[in-house]
């Protein structure tokens, strides 16, 4: 219990790197899943810690749902091993695994009312009648569905069905709760509400959540750690801030938030300072992340909000403003470099001074520390 508390309240400690002090809830080692010729998941190794809100993030077809289904037991890995709460689960059928799933389609039993839906797992486990009543009532209260016990699923809204699915899974007190894009079918406002609710709920119950989503914003909002997946491979596992500030490769940089990418040849490497020459002769100073050699091809990225107007900085470019988009809190500028490449930047609308207008020629600048060399 004490252990859980420390992990919950120190999201920064849950960054990349092995943390031997914590219990591993789900461990995947060298997991590969093939469907005929198609490789859905390739050599995947992950440690998901107890009490953690862990997200599998990636575009559709990246293998995130397959990974979840292998943990649940609906698919068996072609190679590799999975253990849940320290026990190997190969060959263990879904109904004997200490995990529960919230399905994308909710999968609420349409022939049972809310109470019987939530009680389904407890009845299978042979829990006493009185205890079932108590636990189902508590679970319904927890997801704000008290008083809905006698309702039929077809009389519930999408959001309410989602809550039933959640209560039905959590009432069994699983070691791990698996969630497969549970908010995907809801409208934006409800989704935002439920994101925060889910996060709060996870803190309250302290159960490990493994959350599958293709929505990077959702993953950033809710997770302690995120595994970014692409084509069956994990590209990076890190906490949200690290993922955003220090993406490993071009895929992660492009998938999480917006980014400006430059490609070119490495001219010089000095400590962690890298000098890149783009194809049109522009010189860009960047911060190296990994061993990088002079004269090799490389890509660097800078986030739109790290670029400012003016000629003061490690990197200065002269651009023409093409489009100005007012976004309330900030303004987005889309500018064109002399070679025709576009560059996006954001400015906070915290000052009274107006920014440049469309068609204006201006200088933009950013620091090498905010410009990362990317792999891949």
């Amino acid at each position: 219990m004490q252990e859980r508390k420390t992990t919950e309240h120190s999201p920064t400690a849950s960054g990349a790197g092995p943390d031997t002090g914590r219990e591993v809830a789900v461990e995947l080692t060298g997991v590969t899943k093939r469907f005929g010729e198609f490789v859905a998941v390739e050599d995947l190794s992950l440690d998901i810690y107890e009490g953690e809100f862990f997200s599998l993030l990636g575009p559709s077809g990246c293998g995130k749902t397959t990974t979840l289904r292998m943990i649940a037991g609906f698919d068996e890995p072609t190679e590799g091993n999975i253990s849940v709460a320290g026990e190997q689960v190969r060959g263990v059928p879904p109904y004997r695994r200490p995990v529960n799933t919230v399905f994308q389609s909710y999968a609420i039993f349409p022939h049972l009312n809310v109470f019987d839906n939530v009680a389904f797992g407890l009845r299978r486990a042979g829990v006493q009648k009185d205890e079932i009543r108590q636990r189902v009532t508590d679970a319904c209260e927890m997801v704000q569905l008290a008083g809905f016990e006698k309702r039929r699923p077809n009389m519930l809204s999408g959001g309410q069905q989602q809550r039933v699915a959640l209560a039905r899974a959590l009432v069994n007190r699983p070691k791990v709760l698996l969630l497969d894009e549970p908010l995907g079918a809801l409208d934006l406002k409800l989704r935002k509400e439920l994101q925060l609710e889910l996060r709060t709920l996870q803190h309250e119950v302290g159960i490990t959540f493994v959350y599958v989503t293709h929505d990077q914003e959702e993953a950033l909002t809710m997770s302690d750690r995120i595994a970014v997946m692409d084509s069956g491979v994990v590209r990076q596992v890190a906490d949200p801030a690290t993922l955003y500030e220090f993406p490993h490769d071009r895929f992660v940089a492009g998938f999480i938030g917006q980014t400006n990418m430059f490609s070119g040849r490495v001219e010089a490497v000095e400590g962690d300072r890298v000098t890149l020459r783009t194809s049109d002769g522009e010189k860009i100073e960047a911060k190296g992340q990994e061993a990088i050699e002079a004269n090799s091809e490389a890509h660097v990225a800078v986030r739109p909000e790290k670029i400012r107007f003016g000629g003061d900085g490690d990197n200065v470019l002269s651009v023409t403003i093409e489009q100005v988009v007012y976004l309330g809190v900030s303004t987005q500028y889309i500018a064109v470099r002399p070679d025709g490449e576009k560059i996006v930047l954001y400015q906070q609308n915290s000052h009274d001074t107006a920014g440049p207008a469309e068609g204006e020629r201006v200088s933009v600048a950013w620091d090498a520390a905010n410009c990362l060399v990317l792999g891949g």
Partner: protein, 276 residues
Amino acid sequence: MSAKTGGPVYKGVGRIPDRALLLFSVLIYAFLYAPILVLMFFSFNSSRSTQSWTGFSTEWYAALLRDETIHQAFFNSMKVGVTATLIATVIGTFTALALTRHDFRGKLAADTTIYAATVMPEIVVGVSLLAFFVATLIPLGIELGIVTIVIAHVAFTVSFVTIVVRARLAGMDESLEEAAQDLGANPTTTFLRVTLPLIFPGVMAGALLAFTLSFDDFVITFFVSGVGSSTLPLKIYSMIKFGVTPVINALSTVVLVATIALIFGGSRLLVRRENS
């Protein structure tokens, strides 16, 4: 604009075809139902004639109630219908489950033969089943009779049950079964608690279809029945050989009303289940 000018023109052109269509529809319905209505009408005739009306009477229904051989045929039909329906529904339901939920070698072939069986000429099925029984059951001491009729009826109704149940299964979200397993239900419990309740309307529809097919089957039954095992359709046929009497009309009316009641009642029951 074009709607404004096009509207009346379309209406003017439409008037004659509309009436022609109505007339055509009436004729079609008359063609379909007039003979049946005439049959029902003459079952209440007071004379032996099935052509000229002489007055209202229920004497043919009374005659129906007195005829022991008709009772026997009716009970045979019920025995065969109920038994064959039960067996065919169980086999058909599990066949449908296998074809939708599992992959196995020869699945396509199994699938195709199921569909082919529904369009197989009955005369072929009847002759082949008779040959089959003569070669297998009769040497074992089982005579042609109720048993062979039941086997034959199961054989030709199973495909229909399979197709109906399968349609229901195809419309069912597979993640419901996964959810049940996820919540600790083993495959048997999953079937009994989730799959079966959800496909039940399909199973019932399949059973009703099997029963009505079995109850009024003539051709196949004709080949595989033996002495004393006449079903109702066979009995009616043998009665007609001695001339059409209003008793046959009365009997046909009873069978018709019973069948309609069964189908209608069954579907009402299913609709109510769905809505609850």
